[in-house]
Symmetry: none
Subunit: 192 residues, 4 copies
Amino acid sequence: MAKLQKSIDKRNALIKATIELVNNNGFHATPMSKIAKMANVSPATIYLYFENKQDLVNQTYLEVKTKYTSFVFETYEENASIKIGFERIWKRIAEFTMNECEYSFFLNQCNNTPIIDESSRKEGIKHLQPLLDLWERGRKEGLIKPFADHILYAFSINPLSFLLIAQKQEEFRLTKTRIEEAFQSAWDSIKQ
Amino acid sequence: MAKLQKSIDKRNALIKATIELVNNNGFHATPMSKIAKMANVSPATIYLYFENKQDLVNQTYLEVKTKYTSFVFETYEENASIKIGFERIWKRIAEFTMNECEYSFFLNQCNNTPIIDESSRKEGIKHLQPLLDLWERGRKEGLIKPFADHILYAFSINPLSFLLIAQKQEEFRLTKTRIEEAFQSAWDSIKQ
Amino acid sequence: MAKLQKSIDKRNALIKATIELVNNNGFHATPMSKIAKMANVSPATIYLYFENKQDLVNQTYLEVKTKYTSFVFETYEENASIKIGFERIWKRIAEFTMNECEYSFFLNQCNNTPIIDESSRKEGIKHLQPLLDLWERGRKEGLIKPFADHILYAFSINPLSFLLIAQKQEEFRLTKTRIEEAFQSAWDSIKQ
Amino acid sequence: MAKLQKSIDKRNALIKATIELVNNNGFHATPMSKIAKMANVSPATIYLYFENKQDLVNQTYLEVKTKYTSFVFETYEENASIKIGFERIWKRIAEFTMNECEYSFFLNQCNNTPIIDESSRKEGIKHLQPLLDLWERGRKEGLIKPFADHILYAFSINPLSFLLIAQKQEEFRLTKTRIEEAFQSAWDSIKQ
DNA sequence: CATGAATGAGGATTCATTCAT
DNA sequence: TATGAATGAATCCTCATTCAT
């Protein structure tokens, strides 16, 4: 329906604007009015789609996280070997992190800052369940270190966030070669 | 001098209050008035010590970063072997990260957020120069992977930040054993 | 349109309040909040119509100056004799000065004080162009002293401002007779 | 006495600073702290010499007015003819107005603005008593128009203030010749 | 659904003034 | 007498949110 579509478009525009503005200015220093302006909408209209500013950010966070997760596992097949399976997931995460900087940067900011409601963030790393399952299998097979998921995540996945920020601050450029190197470090850090 | 000491005390109280409040509420949502109240001074007094809110946060950041760096290298001796040297530095960082959560959390927030002036953050990871030197030596000796500093940092040091946050959100407890495990992952990720 | 009219009314109320308060208290000592209260709007509303306090005063100044000029030349006809022409303009200025004390006093305060932006005041006495033209003609016909416009203005027009203030401070009452006397002085001061 | 002199020096420095700052920024926008700084004195010290900010400005006004008056009549001799007497006083006023712009500008601002207490300004033009006496004599001798003092003042003396401001705003330069012209206008405006 | 005008509550900052020394 | 540190009270301005249309 054209009408419904228009609504969805507006909601999307608002979320897009939120991401861009929060990325560049932080949550503070992004007034609702600016978000409205960038989305070509009246400030009052925001409140038809979201309860309030907090809700807007929370929903934006969840939306982006969902995009992230579904991209990451889109190509995943459960029956690959541990290393191959991990490599595929890792490369997808790396691809997302680098190609969708806006999304990744936003997620990162939310994860390191009290701008998101506890409840929205509470899930932690559960959204990566297939990866956690893979690790579990790997631990059983003696291929992955018998460490907690958080440790494995901290050393093999999270570093990509740091590289993203370093790149954004132009201290560093993440080339193809370097991604391969990064993967090697990631794998070494978790493999038995 | 009693007067000078009083001034220093006040400045410290302000910085302490800033850290605590920004950690819990974020830079936005910590009004100067609350900082003043927590430091037991009038809001106007803040402006005797800092130019404005931005300056207060910038200076707080630099102060904390300095504490961090000097703690980390306090016990460092250059002529240890690569692995021992790295282990010592890493453990000091881990110790600081876990014991001085307030400081670490604050640093982390500043590093992942546009609340700090570019110029204040510009240094990147240069403050860890002795560690970078160690890596350089390690690469030459063929003990450390021949990767860029940022990659080594991302995989061996930065993960501690993630573990800190996970702990703060009570998803995870970082026990002695787990620190040992974490170190093992760190070392595996960078060793040749 | 009712809505547009309401907007215009509000803007006018704000300008009126500004004039009255600045006249009585000076630019300092007239907080925006008082202006808002007198105009029956919220302080925040002022900022829908004016960029900031400076802009409010600048615009008020320009508005009042426009009222002044158009009143002064409303009845003017170019082809009268020099003396008649001058008398008509002078009398209109006198009328405005005395009947619209609020406006005149405000203009006077702006002209003698650094509360107005240079740019807003820059025009000087150019707004009285028809009078300047008349003087030019008068000089050519040998009826007016061959002096600079500023001198003619200083001695024939500006004195009314002083009389206004003297009256406001109740040192002096400007009666019909005295206006005639004043005109005589004005004319004598510029006539050849 | 050296001590007394030092006190007087400080008071003078404060008054000088007040004049300069109020001239350039207006009464608002000249904080006590700036006055103190310009006078090389602590803010607290001001309150040893003046009750408060209002008192400081009032006293500055009176001081400057006194300087003005005594300069104007310094060379005056009562027994000159009306025209000569007037010319002498007028020229002294012109000299003061042009040479001591800072003082004149300050006086002018106080006279056209509600920054001075009514009581301090109440005297009006009484400080020019010898001139008023001269006019009275002139009226009796039929040489001066039989008009109120305020009118004579408005047209013959006050115009100099306008010329001062025009000059300050660089619309106009007051040369020797122009001063002669101005005098002619002044005299014509009051002479019978 | 959509809006733009309106606003109350609050925030950063300034400043005249005081006070302990 | 002189001061610099300290502050409470104000001031300008912003912004999330609402409401009449």
